[in-house]
Amino acid sequence: MASHSQAETPALREQFNTEAQQKDASTLGMWIFLVTEIMFFGGLFLAYTVYRRWYADIFAVTSSSLNVYIGAANTVVLLCSSLTMVLAVRAAQLGRRKAIVIFLILTLLLGGVFLGVKAYEWNQKYVEHHIPGPDFHFEGVVQQGPAQLFFSLYFAMTGLHALHMVIGAGLLIWLIAQAGRGRFSATYMTPVDVVGLYWHFVDIIWIFLFPLLYLIDRHLGK
């Protein structure tokens, strides 16, 4: 490994001795960044836990107003995008430059579909007056306050998740441009790998948001 000289590998930055060291550092850096993301969403999960314990009945009713089928379908869309992402990473590992681009574009498209569906759902909330604020009104619950708390959490959680998706989409566009120029190979694919980690993480957050927001005591309603 030490035989790599800096001239042979232009991608090696000057503070590192070897490419392995550089790749290890980047990957570790991304993992630690994901730790900070876990704690960031952790605050939201905490607020959710506290209020769901307090207002279990109201949360069940308000949760039932979300369309579970759209939510489930969107989960599937996001899982598909994770699959295409991991296949893009695999293509990079194997040095298949064209496949990288194709899978990345698919991932981006699926991410776009997810965001589109999300936008549709939010618009529904607007139409139904389920957006917290002076115009908020939720039929069938007398305690409007806690109902608003649920939707506050809903918008905070899905909103921040969507923001992460948008950032992820930006990263994907950048990756696609780079991959299109053939920058990645079996020996240098760290950016693909690292963005992959991020994308999967955002997927994991949704994996928790879906049951927590959409699936509270569904049996009551139907």
Binding site: K23, W31, V50, R53, V76, L79, L83, V86, F210, H219
Partner: protein, 99 residues
């Protein structure tokens, strides 16, 4: 560096497992399990998380350090939520408002 490359088949199997679990969690939500509903939903979500992390994020082949970092994050998340709950879960036990 020896990179471990999983087969596309593995990924597709994992993906199918994830889809099945999504269907399962949705279906289970319509069954009245009482307080167990939350447990079931979270257990399935944790399974899905593990699948994504172990396979898609390659934690299976990662260094001990990466695993340690992840475990640490989980512990800290638990600290945040559980220690806060020492307050919220024991309020009112003293029988005095505000204590």
């Amino acid at each position: 560096m020896t990179e471990h490359i999983d087969s596309a088949r593995t990924y597709i199997l994992v993906f199918l497992a994830l889809i099945s679990l999504t269907v399962l969690t949705t279906a289970v939500a319509f069954v009245n399990l009482g307080n167990f509903s939350v447990v079931a939903a979270l257990a399935i979500a944790v399974c899905k998380m593990l699948l994504v992390a172990l396979f898609f994020m390659h934690v299976r082949h990662s260094t001990q350090l990466t695993k340690l970092v992840l475990a640490g994050a989980m512990v800290w998340l638990a600290i945040l939520i559980l220690l806060t709950l020492t307050d919220f879960a024991t309020r009112g036990l003293a029988g005095v408002p505000g204590r």
